[in-house]
Symmetry: D2
Subunit: 294 residues, 4 copies
């Protein structure tokens, strides 16, 4: 397939590489073009603007940091809206707000293009090895057409509906659930830790029984180790996603008390200078509040 | 080994049966003696009082409903303190308070006996099939001596320390973590559900990715199904355990904001008449607060 | 003084009337011009646009519903920025976001004009009788110049600093404090009410002792009476202000756990259809959660 | 009247003194008898035990620190139950649990005596100058009989019902409301303070408008001043009262989210070594969480 790919960060570089391996023709764009070098060596063409990456492409995939970045890539002067042909598809894999997803759905439709949301679950190593889980939502025929691309980038595909923004909401809710695991583990470990139970033993116990899931293993390990640098996912990004989940809840009138607590915890972490720590560092606040030096 | 077993409820009946199968001599006591019939048929002797179940036993195991029940069984006129010989061991498998665990540790020590705490993780079917996880704490030699009994009743043994009450604290913290999964899943499902995402699809997505643990499968299933009767674990018992976790936290000066939220949720559920529903019904409150009929 | 006045709602009509009484020359603008009739009868001139109300005025006062309204009045084609002369002052009395206050400060400065924030405390009857409390912030000389106008509209003036947005923050914090009184009174009344204490007696007791302030009298009365219509201040506006307080807190990294709780309560009230009730109706949620029909 | 008075702490000494001034015959008891000297000089008799203070008294008043103290004074070997005559009255002015109030009501009734609960609002200076507010509950004739005593000790009497424990509940709810003012003021001041608003100006503004009540003046002053020693009411006592309010709520199935938050805040303060600070020091936690050194 003729594919444009925009955003070659830690996640995007692996995803684009897997599309190349699967035999697709790729035009890539990144704000700092140096990052595209390894892909060029493997046969990708380098585009100078988003519009140029979209030129001739059936599908353009974007994987960028936040709402602002995606907005300028789509709506900017040399953006996708202007650059994509009629009948083409834009797959947004970024974690963005429900509100922006709705706006882009409308904007692309007005331009005779189709918007598909397909945020991903997984860290950079899963992106590099095509083991992402992809949550897609959009018009059924468009999603079907994109299937070979999803299969090249991930190992599991969940088609969650026909309205793109529901996929964004599911992604945000997933990050909310991760953060709630961090907070509750932090409280539990503050409790048993103050009684003298070894943190590593405790996490080992949990993850060999009822709580034997990747989320408890990954974050339980980080919390027991108190190792928050380098960040797998920075606290400031975590705050952004919790804020987007709360905003979606507010728009639909869904109170989310645990998310509210998480927002306050993340703010306290940032107020203390922790914006660049892994968001698992939220667990240090329960320890601190119980009088345990973290 | 000569073993006394007290408390033949849904959990105890399976645990005692597995001790018999493993070849131990069993004296069993239950407040309502009819429940002991099947065990008698398999060779257990029926005792008329806790003290009689303890008579001649190396180890007595108790598995009862709450602090009050255990207190009367140990400290009552025909209780274990009076009935156990010097040098014998009392293994408490019940979910009890940290405070009672400390009191019983002292009381048994004063009587020349040893107290071991060994609460279990698992539902009645795991008790029946010897697949419990057992968290034990107590003097090292006593725990070592009890090992064959633990192996007959469970598939995993975690020795967490030498002070019995730490095992009770770990058990309470585990129930707190389960409840926090219920609450956060309830909020997440209220959010995506109100946007039209199918609850079963959503739980399937979660449990096939980062959240692939028994706790998400069991409770995610109950919440998606909105099936809260019959209760696997009743809301009123859930409230009791959260209260005990909070009390332990208070005694050690460990604030637990998520546990505080859970306490308020469980109280609201009970105020609404839900004391006998499965505690997964806490999830209906997030749905209700978002204007979704539950 | 030559004064423009924009926004003749329940509050603005009284404030403008008091400026006329004090002898100032008034040009008034309102989206629906009928509301200006009584002021015209008293000598005010009716303007067709905000810019026209600003024409020739030394000071323009705005009192409108929200950020959106103020933005269009200031930045719109026939707005204040275009209509005010150099060296003139814009006093914003509306409850708006800190962020908009900062933007308008910059925009007016760039146009050679001065922005002063002066939100007010008080209900429509206080506006009509010049008993408002006014919290002003802005450049000292501008505030000094406006003093006669403040004195015509209110009975207390608090000059809180030289940066306009601090006055908006103080106003938002005040509304947060009112809402926190509503919530805590709601909980206290749910508690003593369920024990059979008469709600009116209880509020009488509180307000004759430690809690003898207007906020407890007004809201305690509404809660005891369960009278939430017509709304003195609608729940949807309350939610807006709590959201703005949270947003200000987020921008400055100040966690506000009680405000988070209030946000969730107000959302639950709105999800239940209560957007047009007085925000004191938040108190019904504590009653409902305790199983008391509200 | 013949009156026994037990408990000559900061509050009791003033209350007893006012009874003497009003002409009543007083027998006083205190664990450390030295404290009774000034009252002896004014005509009170010193009793060696609670029972002796009750000997010949129509009414015995107790004003002690907590449940444990009152329990031993009433139910101990030389306690009131044994020492009071049939038909006499015990007025408990202490802040105690609803549960103990119920137990004492029953115990006194079984002994042919009457229990009246009459906790007080006010600090030591109000006790000394007879400006307390007294909240009484008990059988109507008993309360009527005690009226001259209430009038000697306080300036306002609120008879809240015939079941003594409702007065205790009202007292606990009042302390909950005070604590909620501390927390919300702490958050508001963290917010405006971080924006540079002067704390004293802010409190002055609040208390001259909507929030002009003693509770805002007293606690707003302490928080603005950051003066938490010596404690007017120590954090550890505050935690005790919030715990009793939560326990009463739990017994009646009334969730109290703000009280839950206060409990966690007070625990964090105690974990940090603040048990003997005034409970207004809870406000430092909001400041700390926002990155402001307290």
């Amino acid at each position: 397939m003729e594919v444009g790919f925009i955003g070659l960060g830690q996640m995007g570089i692996g995803m684009a590489g897997n599309l190349l391996k699967a035999g697709h023709d790729l035009r890539v764009y990144n704000r700092t073009p140096e990052k595209a070098k390894p892909l060029e060596a493997d046969g990708a063409q380098l585009a100078a603007t988003p519009a140029q990456a979209a030129d001739g492409a059936d599908v353009v995939i974007t994987m960028v940091a936040d709402d602002d970045a995606l907005e300028s890539i789509v709506l900017g002067e040399t953006g996708l809206l202007a650059g994509q042909g009629k009948g083409t598809i834009h797959i947004s894999a970024s974690t963005i707000s429900v509100a922006l997803s709705q706006r882009l759905t409308e904007a692309h439709a007005a331009a005779g293009q189709t918007f598909v949301s397909a945020p991903v679950f997984g860290r950079p190593d899963a992106a590099a090895t095509a083991r992402l889980a992809i949550v897609a939502a959009g018009p059924a025929d468009a999603v079907a057409l994109c299937k070979p691309l999803f299969e090249a980038m991930g190992q599991r595909l969940f088609v969650i509906g026909t309205e793109p923004q529901t996929a964004n909401l599911v992604k945000l809710s997933g990050n909310f659930l991760i953060a709630s695991v961090i907070e509750s583990l932090g409280e539990a470990i503050a409790l048993v830790g103050k009684a003298g139970v070894d943190r590593h033993d405790y996490v080992e116990l949990l993850t060999s029984t009822l709580f034997g899931a990747p989320v408890y293993k990954t974050y339980g390990g980080l919390i027991a180790e108190r190792k928050f640098e380098p960040a797998g996912f920075a606290a400031k990004l975590g705050l952004k996603d919790i804020r987007l989940a709360l905003a979606a809840g507010e728009a639909m009138k869904v109170p989310l008390p645990v998310a509210s607590l998480l927002r306050d915890r993340l703010l306290a972490l940032l107020a203390d200078g922790g914006q660049d720590l892994d968001w698992a560092a939220v667990s240090t606040l329960a320890a601190r509040d119980s009088g345990q030096a973290s």
